[in-house]
């Protein structure tokens, strides 16, 4: 079906043919990457089992409902969940902003041009920030408002809710990174990204439907095993030993990493993915904190070593459970505050969103939760460590994590650090800071690799970021010049790792990525050699 002819009521179409078909020719061009391969078609076997009728992509390896009873149950559950979403008490966490966003959107489409998914897709209608919101709005009007029941078509309340509508809406809620750039530019303050999140929440909290990486292998595993990576406390302790080996290898010094140290000033919590995929990052933190004389500790308690909180993306109950555990661990350890390592959504979850699900003694005033970035800048400013910027004499650009920048207003510390520890001036992406574009991995996409979802991520949601990176290094694209993209966020790093591989940016252009702490340690004058590994382990 041609994208231009899509009508909202097409979401109810019972056919398995995708509502929109993506082709490489339709996508936003990336200068310098003209000869990209066509998008692979989904496997025939998947089409027999799963529902890919939105756009031919999916992360949901959940068999589609086959019998009329199963389909009816899905529809009933959806409508029941929507009723709860609209109810101020059942949805006290977000009801106000959600209802206002549903009721007062003026359909001016100002938000569309702010969305990297919409632009990256070559302006496919189904990815417009207002498209999914409008479908939900029309359903809400038709089924839950007297005016909609009475005057349905006049209000546009013309969408029938059947199991296909429900499933496509579920898929649509996972075509938004919830970066909230759309809310930033909306003249009325309407938050279409929040609507996407609330749709996800409806499915999770009422029906238990969510990508396995977020719920089953995400928050459920996090709460049960201690980490969404599956890492248990014993495995964490092994990781710490491995980090100590890295430190010794790089610094020539034996340095025990403090774990479960009662009464430390700071409990540092990393995204546990760092221990597995980028252990040099937690090692860099340990080196910096030790050199700066900071009294800190890691925790080996269940959840205490994994800062992620996937609930922030799709489920308020899971958000509250994880946050409560994190803060309780800090309280039991008697630390003065929690500092979050380089993980964007973990920053936002514990410092901002979960603030009002934790009562009394667990309030932010009692156990402060802070970003690592101001602390790292404080270390540089203090002069406790001697940095030699000439050790970082290569082109550098900075990817801003949406959660840290647009959603927390932490913009300058990381830039001041780069200024202090790098030889070359920072090459800002355009736009940057609070107006940045998402890496394409936000709100869980970085870890969603089931079926063919990573194809969609690399081709659509990460597309704008790849373009920005290439533009930032436009005059130094020679692969002989090593270039570094700073991503002070685990999920952003994961997305960049995949995108760099997918677009062959290391081989073609010498572009690599890594954390900020790693870059700082690389500039430490006392270190016997370079700290960055670039692509050596690949």
């Amino acid at each position: 079906m041609s994208d231009k002819t899509i009508r909202f009521k097409d979401v109810a179409r019972l056919s398995n043919e995708p509502l929109a078909s993506l082709s490489a020719d339709d996508l936003m061009p990336i200068p310098g990457l003209e000869d990209l391969p066509p998008l692979p078609a989904p496997r025939a076997k998947w089409l027999e089992t799963y529902d890919l009728s939105l756009d031919g992509f999916s992360d949901l390896d959940i068999p589609m409902p086959k019998t009329p009873e199963e389909q009816e149950r899905l529809v009933r559950g959806f409508l029941s969940g929507l009723e709860k979403l609209l109810d101020p008490q059942n949805n006290w966490t977000f009801a106000k902003l959600f209802r206002l966003s549903l009721d007062y959107c003026l359909h001016c489409q100002t938000c569309s041009e702010a969305c990297h998914v919409y632009l990256g897709s070559g302006r496919q209608e189904i990815y417009r920030p207002t498209f999914r919101s409008e479908i939900l709005r029309r359903i809400y009007q038709r089924y839950f408002t007297p005016a909609g029941k009475l005057l349905g078509p006049l209000l546009g309340a013309d969408i029938e809710v059947n199991f296909k509508t429900v499933w496509r809406l579920l898929e649509l809620s996972y075509r938004c990174n919830i970066c909230r750039r759309c809310a930033q530019v909306c003249p009325a303050g309407i938050d279409n990204a929040l609507i996407a999140r609330e749709i996800r929440k409806l499915f999770s909290q009422e029906l238990g439907l969510a990508p396995a990486e977020l719920l089953k292998k995400g928050t459920r595993q996090h709460l049960r095993a201690g980490s969404s990576t599956g890492m248990n406390p014993a495995a964490f302790k092994n990781s710490v030993e491995f980090i100590e080996e890295i430190i010794e290898e790089k610094t020539g010094k034996k340095m025990p990493v403090p774990v479960d140290k009662k009464g430390a000033d700071i409990l540092l919590i990393h995204n546990a993915g760092e221990f597995l995929s980028w252990p040099e990052n937690p090692a860099a933190f340990a080196i910096l904190f030790d050199a700066a004389g900071i009294n800190w500790t890691l925790s080996s308690e269940l959840l205490g070593y994994d800062a992620v909180n996937y609930g922030a993306w799709f489920d308020d109950v899971e958000l509250a459970r994880v946050a409560l555990r994190h803060v309780s661990i800090a309280r039991e350890l008697g630390v003065k505050k929690i500092v979050i390592g380089e993980c964007g959504h973990a920053h936002k979850a514990i410092c901002v969103v979960a603030d009002r699900v934790l009562p009394g003694d667990l309030s932010l005033s009692e156990i402060p939760r802070e970003s690592c970035l101001p602390l790292l800048w404080d270390i540089v400013r203090s002069g406790a460590i001697r940095f030699d910027p000439s050790r970082n004499d290569f082109p550098i650009t900075l990817h801003d994590s949406c959660n840290v920048v647009r959603l927390m207003g932490i913009v300058q510390p990381q830039r001041e650090i780069v200024k202090a520890v790098c030889a070359q001036p920072l090459r800002e992406m355009e736009p940057h800071g609070v107006y940045n574009y998402c890496c394409g991995g936000g709100s869980g996409f970085a870890i969603m690799d089931t079926l063919n979802f990573s194809q969609w991520r690399n081709n659509v949601s990460a597309r704008m970021k790849v373009k920005q990176i290439l533009e930032a290094f436009g005059d130094v694209l020679d692969p002989g010049i090593r270039k570094y993209v700073i991503a002070a966020c685990s999920n952003c790093k994961g997305t960049l790792r995949d995108a760099i591989n997918y677009y062959d940016l290391w081989e073609q252009h010498g572009i690599w990525y890594g954390g900020l702490a790693d870059l700082m340690v690389n500039a430490m004058a006392d270190l016997p050699g370079p700290y960055l590994n670039w692509n050596e382990e690949m």
């Binding site: 009508r7 101020p88 059942n90 006290w92 009801a95 106000k96 902003l97 206002l100 007062y104 003026l106 359909h107 001016c108 489409q109 938000c111 569309s112 041009e113 702010a114 209608e125 078509p153 006049l154 209000l155 546009g156 909230r180 809310a183 530019v185 909306c186 003249p187 009325a188 303050g189 909290q205 009422e206 029906l207 928050t219 709460l223 049960r224 109950v317 509250a320 459970r321 946050a323 409560l324 901002v352 979960a354 603030d355 009002r356 699900v357 934790l358 009562p359 009394g360 309030s363 932010l364 005033s365 802070e370 970003s371 970035l373 920048v405 927390m408 207003g409 913009v411 300058q412 609070v434």
Partner: protein, 307 residues
């Protein structure tokens, strides 16, 4: 005479209904529970040096202990005033539409909004002029009225055409949206016709006088129709999304710009504790039935989880 009495009573009723309905909408929204923090930067009430680039207090180490309680005056000057200025700038200039909208609606949208503001100003000027009987005011009212009707008509009709002829906009524009714009266009076009028939505004002023003094009097049909339509619009507006200018306070001040962190024992803390006592009614398999939000948060593992 019955019709003339109707116009007087309807005029007063429209104002009363508008105030009552808008207040009721405000009360309904105000009574909704305190939501979680969900701010988006830049936030106008941040410190001036940070506001410049969208920074926040969270850029500081130990920010929780550095935040000082503001005095009432500081709350207004440093907090509410910058927010009001930002919202006011958007209302007056529609700068976000101008900067980010690719469908060339800024000119029409701005014209429509200024038409509405000017029309309200015109009505107020006529009221004042009726009380003070000033020739200068009458002259100003004459200009404002024409400007209001011309701008408003261009804006409303331009938006109808733009929405109907731009597929990306037409898809999202329901019949009711066209009706709203047509309603506004009708007011402005009628206003223009009434002005053409009464360029000195003497009949307009007399009509306003009859309403204010409860002394019904006949008036030209165009004058009566203009004001009847405007009064009807006043009644209708609080029930439509055209109330968005009031809603902005809640969307921004209590939503996108609400960056206040929670302090133990504060009013916010008490309200959160109250809300955490609500029973969770969601039915997902990972949710334990019958528990409050706080109890639910304390329940990590649930039945059915793999051990």
């Amino acid at each position: 005479m019955v019709f003339e009495w109707f116009t007087v009573i309807f005029a007063w009723a429209s104002v009363v209904i508008f105030i009552g309905a808008a207040a009721s909408q405000i009360a309904r929204i105000s009574s909704m529970p305190l939501g979680l923090r969900w701010e988006v930067y830049p936030i106008p009430h941040e410190a001036r040096d940070k506001r410049r680039y969208g920074g926040s207090y969270m850029e500081e180490v130990d920010w929780a202990s550095k935040r000082e309680r503001r005095s009432f005056l500081a709350e207004i000057v440093e907090f509410l005033a910058p927010e009001a200025i930002e919202i006011g700038a958007e209302i007056l200039t529609m700068k976000k539409v101008r900067a980010h909208n690719r469908y060339r609606i800024w000119v029409f949208s701005t014209a429509l909004h200024w038409g509405i503001y000017s029309f309200i100003a015109w009505a107020l000027l006529l009221i004042v002029e009726n009380r003070v009987n000033s020739a200068a005011l009458a002259a100003v009212a004459g200009v404002v009225g024409v400007v209001a009707c011309v701008l408003g008509a261009i804006g409303a009709i331009g938006l109808i055409i733009r929405r109907a002829t731009t597929p990306d906009l037409a898809r999202y524009t329901a019949t009711l949206d066209y009706f709203n714009l047509a309603f506004l266009a009708a007011i402005f076009v009628c206003g223009l016709i009434s002005w053409l028939g009464d360029p000195t505004l003497a009949a307009h002023e007399a009509y306003i006088g009859s309403v204010l003094s409860f002394k019904p009097a006949a008036a030209p049909w165009a004058v009566v129709l203009t004001f009847l339509l405007f009064e009807l619009f006043l009644i209708y507006m609080p029930f439509s999304k055209m109330l968005h200018y009031i809603i902005k306070y809640f969307v921004y001040h209590q939503g996108l710009w609400d960056d206040a962190f929670k302090v133990k024992g504060s009013d916010t803390d008490k309200q959160v504790i109250e809300q955490l006592a609500y029973t969770v009614t969601w039915q997902g398999p990972h949710i334990v039935q019958g528990k409050t939000w706080l109890e639910e948060a304390q329940t990590a593992a649930v039945e059915g989880d793999k051990k």
